[in-house]
């Protein structure tokens, strides 16, 4: 959404005292059978997890509170490690389909650092090492645009609704939720009051809730205390950590409920689900191998680009509001079929002209396009002006030539770019074999000067174009 639309939605949200949806479709597929939630409390800067709540989102979570999170002894993490192992096995049995709900990105970061710390730690128990690997797999999957495994509740809400807050305030999940709760009469005041306490996976440390200072002091006292006093001090640490990690969990549960309560259909995400499932299936079975070599990094970037494109196009195709916004920017073309050139009805070849009065049209020659809501695909072969001052887009139809109701004069169409989303593994394998200098060399090779052909580069390019 552009800044103008975003701002108008904010004004509307202020006016209506409610969050305003900015989409009519969901960017997240339905939860698969293996769906879990994780919420954490970490130590600021140390980034050591001191409390975790985890489990099924429809039940009370299991909670681990860590009295000495900086110690080398990690046996207190064993229940979480076992849970992650069970979850991974269930996901593998389901072909890699997994959903992990987290309240916000800080939780993902905490899991990633946990993974970094233990996935190769030779002194940690095997189960904790396996947990580290799973955490790294999950965190890596979350880097792919459009991935369907990690559901970051705060990010999902920000992607699908706008409130009357400033954008920077919407990073606070509890503040966002004030705008999604019908029981809150004045969400602006309520949200800004909620912002006093952090919703970022850390203990609060305000004058009225000095939990972080208190736990820090208690940990020091525990080291000196013995017997009953030591037990009391430990009990207090546990109570504080339990209380605040359960608050994080509750935020997660509320945010998920609020998101699902928007009732947005999640159509058109099958390709993204399949990509995620395949990646998870492979990684959970074989492990995580960070890309280091140039050709591997290129593959990773290509996968991310493909994911981004697929995500954008899936959202556009499934969401009239987004298409309307894209139409104003020229990314989607709304027009009427003015001519159909199809010698044999229902057969190739077929070319159509679509006339549009849009002020901005971003389609260019050779763009692969599709007609929204149909299986009709094609390639842009011409863009010209009409007598009435509009734009005519000529499209060679490459798929769906039998859809005569669409491919007939007078039909109203919405045309958008077709997803490319292709990673050329074959080419990158060749790169690995041949190790060419753009990937592996330090400097460009010297090429002997040749005699210029005297032909214009544009002429050479024009010759290379397909008719």
């Amino acid at each position: 959404m552009n800044a103008f639309d975003d701002t108008l939605h904010r004004v509307m949200a202020r006016h209506m005292n409610r969050a305003i949806p900015t989409r009519t479709s969901s960017g997240l597929s339905n939860d698969p059978d293996v769906s879990i939630g994780i919420a954490t409390i970490k130590i600021v800067t140390e980034d050591q997890i001191q409390a975790i709540a985890f489990g099924s989102l429809d039940e009370e979570p299991e909670v681990i509170v860590r009295l000495a999170p900086i110690d080398r002894d990690v046996t207190d993490l064993m229940p979480f490690a076992a849970f992650m192992e069970r979850t991974a096995n269930r996901a593998l049995a389901a072909g890699g389909a997994l959903r992990i709900w987290i309240p916000h990105s800080v939780t993902l970061e905490a899991l990633d650092i946990l993974g970094h710390r233990y996935w190769h730690n030779q002194t940690a128990p095997d189960a904790v090492v396996r947990m580290g690997k799973i955490c790294r797999v999950v965190a890596h999957e979350a880097t792919f645009p459009g991935q369907q495994v990690v559901a970051d509740a705060a990010a999902l809400l920000q992607d699908h609704v706008v409130t009357g807050l400033a954008p920077i305030e919407e990073g606070h999940l509890d503040a966002m939720l004030a705008w999604l709760d019908p029981a809150v009469r004045d969400p602006l005041t309520e949200a800004r009051e909620r912002i006093r306490l952090p919703a970022s996976g850390i203990l609060p440390n305000t004058p009225d809730h000095p939990a972080d200072d208190r736990v820090d002091r208690l940990r020091k006292e525990v080291k000196r205390a013995t017997g009953r006093r030591c037990a009391i001090l430990k009990g207090e640490i546990e109570d504080i950590l339990r209380r605040w990690v359960l608050r994080e969990w509750q935020l997660l549960v509320d945010a998920r409920r609020a998101f699902l309560g928007l009732g947005l259909p999640s159509a058109g995400l099958e390709g993204l689900v399949e990509d995620s499932t395949n990646r998870m299936n492979y990684a959970l079975a074989n492990g995580h191998f960070p890309a280091r070599q140039p050709h591997k990094l290129a593959v990773l970037l290509a996968q991310m680009e493909a994911g981004l494109e697929k995500t954008e196009l899936a959202a556009l195709e499934g969401d009239p509001i987004l298409r309307e916004q894209a139409q104003r920017a020229g990314g989607v073309v709304h027009g009427i079929v003015s001519d159909v050139r199809q010698p044999r009805p229902g057969r190739n070849p077929c070319t159509i002209d679509v006339d549009s009065n849009q002020g901005v049209i971003r389609l260019r020659l050779d763009d692969k396009v599709k007609v929204v809501g149909t299986s009709v695909t094609g390639v842009v072969r011409g863009v010209s002006s009409t007598r009435a001052g509009g734009t005519r887009v000529s499209i060679q139809i490459t798929g769906g030539v039998r859809q005569t109701s669409i491919l007939s004069a007078g039909a109203r169409l919405e045309i958008m770019r077709q997803g490319y989303g292709f990673v050329n593994f074959h080419a990158f394998n060749l790169v690995n074999q041949r190790q060419p200098w753009p990937f592996y060399g330090e400097a460009a090779p010297r090429i002997a000067a040749g005699t210029p052909s005297g032909r214009s580069a544009l002429a050479i390019a024009a010759e290379a174009r397909r008719p």
Partner: protein, 349 residues
């Protein structure tokens, strides 16, 4: 966040138009105290660095500087192009520890001696730990800012020192979040500027590069990543702008206060409330009250898009109770009515 030393300059660089920030920098005492004296109530939000952050920062430095800075020598050996055992380190905290002004002045004197030695071609250490620099802003209250890089590293190419800073927060794969990097680059920018000042005291013709080094912590234990060389061209310019802004604010505040403390004239000063204030400044809520009901209250982008008008006015355009005064308002009114038509009924979340 504090308003002392390089942090003050970093904050001024981020919001050079804010006179309230200028007054905070001039005011003796903490930022929290400044708030309480103006508002008349205790500050009810989190304030200050958390104990865990302080502890980790101290432990990281201690670990990196231990054993004649063994880890640091190993980290910088490839950059210096010599064996780690051949790297000469001088820790000025060994001579004058502490953060009191006397110690700082003593370390500043030693730092100046070392820089002069290096310029004169006399032996000088490859790495200076806990050097002390300053940026002068005299004459006037706050005549200088003490700038304390964690270290200075001598470039093997031209023999000029570069500032370096240790950051104890955990970074994976030495890839730093954009927001964190912007902040620490500004910090390094202030250090580079202070270093330029010190070099130019010795010889104005010395060229000091606009580079600095950052050393982040690995996820495991307290080990440092390889140093990152940062280009500080933009950061140095931003700090220069921040210093100019401070000098401008100081002059205005001095004219207004007539010898009284800076906080006494706060209501006469112009704040420049921006989104980032909410995460960096104790005065953010107080400043925001001045834009309550305005488009700025919904963020900087809203102010840019709609202009400086009240939210009531915008809603009036939508409902038709206010006639659009120009084409911009007309477009806003039309678009808002379309939006209202879409959302008035069941689609409201």
């Amino acid at each position: 966040m504090t308003v002392k030393g390089s942090t003050a300059l970093v904050r001024l660089a981020g919001n050079p138009s804010c006179e309230i920030l200028g007054a905070m920098v001039m005011q003796e005492g903490s930022e929290k105290r400044f708030y309480e004296r103006i508002v008349g109530e205790p500050y009810d939000r989190e304030f200050g660095e958390r104990p865990s952050s302080k502890r980790r920062g101290a432990q990281f430095e201690q670990n990196v500087f231990a054993g004649d800075a063994r880890l640091l020598r190993e980290s910088f050996a490839p950059f210096l192009g010599i064996d780690a055992d051949a790297v000469i380190v001088r820790n000025l905290f060994d001579d004058y520890p502490g953060t009191k002004d006397d110690s700082r002045v003593a370390r500043l004197r030693i730092t100046r001696e070392i820089l002069a030695d290096a310029v004169a071609g006399r032996p000088a250490p490859h790495i200076i730990i806990q050097p002390q620099l300053l940026i002068p802003t005299s004459p006037g209250p706050r005549p200088y800012f003490f700038i304390a890089p964690d270290l200075l590293v001598r470039s093997p190419t031209d023999g000029v020192y570069l500032p370096g800073d240790l950051k104890s927060f955990i970074v994976r794969e030495n890839e730093v979040a954009k927001g964190d990097l912007a902040r620490v680059r500004l910090q390094l920018g202030a250090q580079a500027l202070a270093l330029m000042h010190e070099y130019h005291r010795i010889d104005p013709s010395i060229t000091v590069g606009s580079n600095g080094m950052l050393i982040f912590s690995r996820p495991n234990g307290l080990n440092p990543h390889a140093p990152r060389i940062e280009d500080l061209g933009g950061a140095i310019e931003a700090i220069r702008i921040g210093i100019s802004a401070f000098l401008r604010h100081r002059q205005r505040i001095n004219e207004l206060r007539a010898g009284a403390e800076p906080f006494t004239v706060a209501t006469d000063l112009s704040p420049n409330f921006q989104d980032a204030c909410l995460t960096t400044c104790v005065m953010a809520q107080w400043c925001r009250q001045r834009v309550a009901g305005q488009t700025s209250d919904m963020g900087e982008i809203a102010r840019e898009v709609l202009g400086d008008m009240s939210i009531e006015h915008v809603i009036g355009l939508m409902t038709g109770t206010i006639e659009p005064a120009n084409d911009h308002e007309r477009i806003v009114a039309v678009q808002l009515r379309e939006l209202a038509a879409q959302h008035n009924t069941e689609r409201v979340a």
